[in-house]
């Protein structure tokens, strides 16, 4: 629920400063959180360039923010130790954008019970709710899954929950720290009148017959067909996994309808890029031949390319047979364009073909690596409890593995290990400032509705272990020997990560596991460039300047209005401050006193005037009577 008052709103592009005090990992996480805002809302962020109001993110004590734009020039937001988690940053920025906690909204008692005697002494005031003069729930239903909701253990004095949801199924839903919920997005977009986002472009699950405006080519040999199943597979689509009778469609290229080498082209609707880089993500199923392939093209429309050039971006070959697979393709398009999916029949006589579903296109960076874990439920009960990913290489050349720990119920742990690799002699050791982002993908068909769980760690080259070794030193020096499944020996360094990456309970929720498949997306970025001071500009004539010599008394706040500094004065139910600088105090009692005094004064004045009038009239009458008597000629007088 949001704070009432237009003055608390920020412009759609919020100026920010990342303070020098911030840890390196926090800096990367904050930038990732901004990307989530750009994908799902119309809120954007830009480095401060002198605007009157901006958010200064710094490493203070704890994680906190003010609510709304306080119009104080530099508004602080603390991302302290332990707060460098993407959903925590999202939470604090939602405060800054004008949102309170979900359970403080006026109707919360209809949805949750606060167990007052389980709350730490002196902390009960944290559980107050506020009426709709102070907060606005924006006509959106109570949201148990909000990233702004307290968890059930908030401020508990024992082990029993302080918040009990009226619907028991939501007990473990409240307090999620993964991503915005659908209602969070709805409310934010309503509050800021958003109708589009910066980086989202397209999402299609082929449930509607118009197939999201996608078009068949007339220059190919066959068409893609919208179907809900294919005899050779898949038996169902990826969006619903067959859970909904009468729905669940995908697009299929039937290889048996064409000869070897024939193609079927399916183009997206025309798209208009803003940022110049895109990530195409989709699920692909192969029930045909291992020699079939899917080509991804871009058809660009620009003045320079009159012929609407079709550019091949990627050839996807060796698609495994018999399961839905997640693919990412990086695009770099600056003109309006279509994405084109080109199915190509290869050798082999088998029936079936290629199928695509759950396409998402956004102007974001693709993950660098995808770890696809099949038959996930079987792993949960495995004796070792730990599973290592295949080895991957970062863009800088560092080799690494991810370790998933499934045995420490109820939690799932995830750790990052550097391992010995082919480039080690050319690399810098200890490994400096590589930020590793590990994401368990929520496989919701629409990228805007996903609540993927994402955590990051950063390699600090100065970090040491208890015995004085550098933690991120060369694995061949500080690691332990192990063997790949093919028998090749390698060295694995120490793991660094989270024993509570998420709970098994949450992992079973939403679409983290779909068809018993789990996807872990991995990105390893060099963030050395964030280890510099953000150039702070000279502020424009803003709140700081105009308000410097315009002090408001009695805790009034100075704001800019029509280019002038003005005071907004504090007030309560029966008192207020007023005057140009809030220098005068008023209250209801004063008003009554003034009203009564005025009435009495007016009465007294009127009374005086009346008395004087009566006196003067009587006096005048008296005088007139006397003079008339003196001038009178008496008749019939006696002599």
């Amino acid at each position: 629920n949001s704070i009432v008052g237009e003055s608390y709103r920020w412009p759609h592009t919020i100026p920010y400063v990342l303070d020098d005090s911030l840890e390196m990992n926090a800096r990367g996480v904050i930038l990732n959180a901004f990307e989530r805002y750009r994908l799902k809302t119309c809120i954007d962020f830009k480095p401060w360039s002198g605007e009157p109001n901006y958010i200064s993110v710094f490493k203070g004590s704890g994680c906190w923010s003010s609510v709304g734009n306080r119009r104080v020039g530099k508004q602080e937001l603390s991302i302290g130790k332990g707060c460098d988690r993407i959903a925590t940053v999202q939470h604090e920025f939602l405060h800054a954008l004008g949102f309170w906690h979900e359970q403080s909204r006026s109707d919360r008692d209809d949805y949750v019970s606060i167990i007052w005697d389980r709350i730490i002494s002196g902390k009960k005031n944290n559980f107050e709710s506020y009426d709709d003069r102070q907060t606005d729930s924006l006509n959106v239903p109570y949201d148990y899954s909000s990233v702004m909701h307290y968890s059930k253990t908030a401020f508990q004095n024992g082990s029993e929950p302080t918040i009990v949801t009226r619907i028991p199924d939501f007990m473990d839903v409240i307090g999620q720290r993964m991503d915005f919920s659908d209602s969070d997005i709805l409310k934010l977009n309503q509050l800021y009148n958003c109708s589009s986002s910066l980086s989202f472009m397209e999402s299609c699950d082929f449930e509607l017959e118009n197939v999201c405006g996608m078009i068949q080519s007339s220059e190919d040999s066959a068409d893609w067909q919208r179907v809900s199943q294919v005899p050779e597979g898949p038996e169902s689509d990826h969006s619903n996994m067959g859970r909904c009778k009468g729905s669940g469609f995908f697009m299929h290229f039937n290889r048996s309808s064409v000869n070897e080498g024939a193609t079927a082209m399916l183009g997206s609707r025309i798209l208009y890029p803003k940022r110049g880089f895109q990530c195409l993500q989709f699920f692909l199923y192969n029930s045909g031949s291992e020699y079939d392939q899917l080509n991804i093209y871009v058809r660009e429309y620009s003045a320079a390319s009159v012929n609407r050039t079709l550019t091949l971006v990627e050839e996807i070959k060796d698609v495994p047979i018999g399961s839905w697979q997640l693919y990412h393709v990086t695009l770099k398009v600056t003109n309006k364009f279509r994405v084109v999916f080109g199915g190509v029949r290869g050798a082999g006589a088998s029936r079936g073909g290629l199928s695509i579903d759950d396409i998402n296109l956004s102007e974001t960076q693709c993950p660098h690596h995808v770890w696809h874990i099949r038959n996930f439920t079987q792993l949960i009960g495995s004796p070792s409890g730990s599973v290592y990913s295949p080895s991957f290489y970062s863009s800088k050349g560092y080799a690494f593995q991810i370790r998933l720990n499934l045995s420490s119920l109820p939690n799932v742990g995830m750790y990052f290990h550097l391992i010995s690799g082919a480039n080690d002699d050319q690399l810098e050791w200890p490994c400096p400032w590589q930020q590793v982002t590990m994401t368990i993908l929520d496989q919701n068909p629409d990228i805007r509705q996903r609540m993927s769980n994402k955590r990051s760690i950063t390699t600090d080259p100065f970090m040491t272990t208890g015995n004085g070794d550098y933690f991120w030193d060369r694995p061949s020096k500080v690691g332990v020997q192990d063997f790949f499944p093919n028998g090749t020996q390698f060295q694995r360094g120490r793991g660094y990560g989270y024993s509570v990456f998420m709970t098994h309970e949450r992992l079973k929720s939403r679409d983290f596991m779909k068809g018993d498949d789990v996807y872990i997306l991995l990105t390893v970025e060099d963030i050395s460039h964030l280890n510099t001071t953000q150039n702070e500009p000279t502020p424009t004539l803003g709140v700081n300047d105009l308000c410097t010599n315009f002090k408001c008394e009695n805790d009034g706040i100075c704001i800019l209005h029509n280019g002038k500094a003005e005071c907004r004065c504090p007030s309560g139910e029966d008192w207020w401050y007023m005057g140009e600088r809030c220098e005068k105090r008023g209250s209801t009692r004063d008003t009554i006193v003034i009203a009564v005094s005025s009435t009495v004064a007016v009465f007294a004045v009127m009374l005086v005037i009346t008395l004087v009038s009566v006196y003067c009239t009587r006096k005048k009458y008296h005088q007139e009577t006397s003079s008339k008597t003196a001038n009178m000629t008496l008749e019939n007088q006696h002599a």
Partner: protein, 39 residues
């Protein structure tokens, strides 16, 4: 198996737990109020 280190000491602390451990007395756990709001 090489050693593994937990970033957060093996405890999944929510925002309010972090602030509580630090002894911060913020409004609703993580909100900083200005003078007018405090009143």
């Amino acid at each position: 198996t090489p050693e593994i280190f937990d970033v957060d000491g093996g405890i999944d602390q929510d925002i309010f737990d972090i602030n509580e451990d630090l002894g911060l007395d913020l409004f609703e756990g993580d909100i900083r109020l200005d003078g007018v709001q405090e009143r």
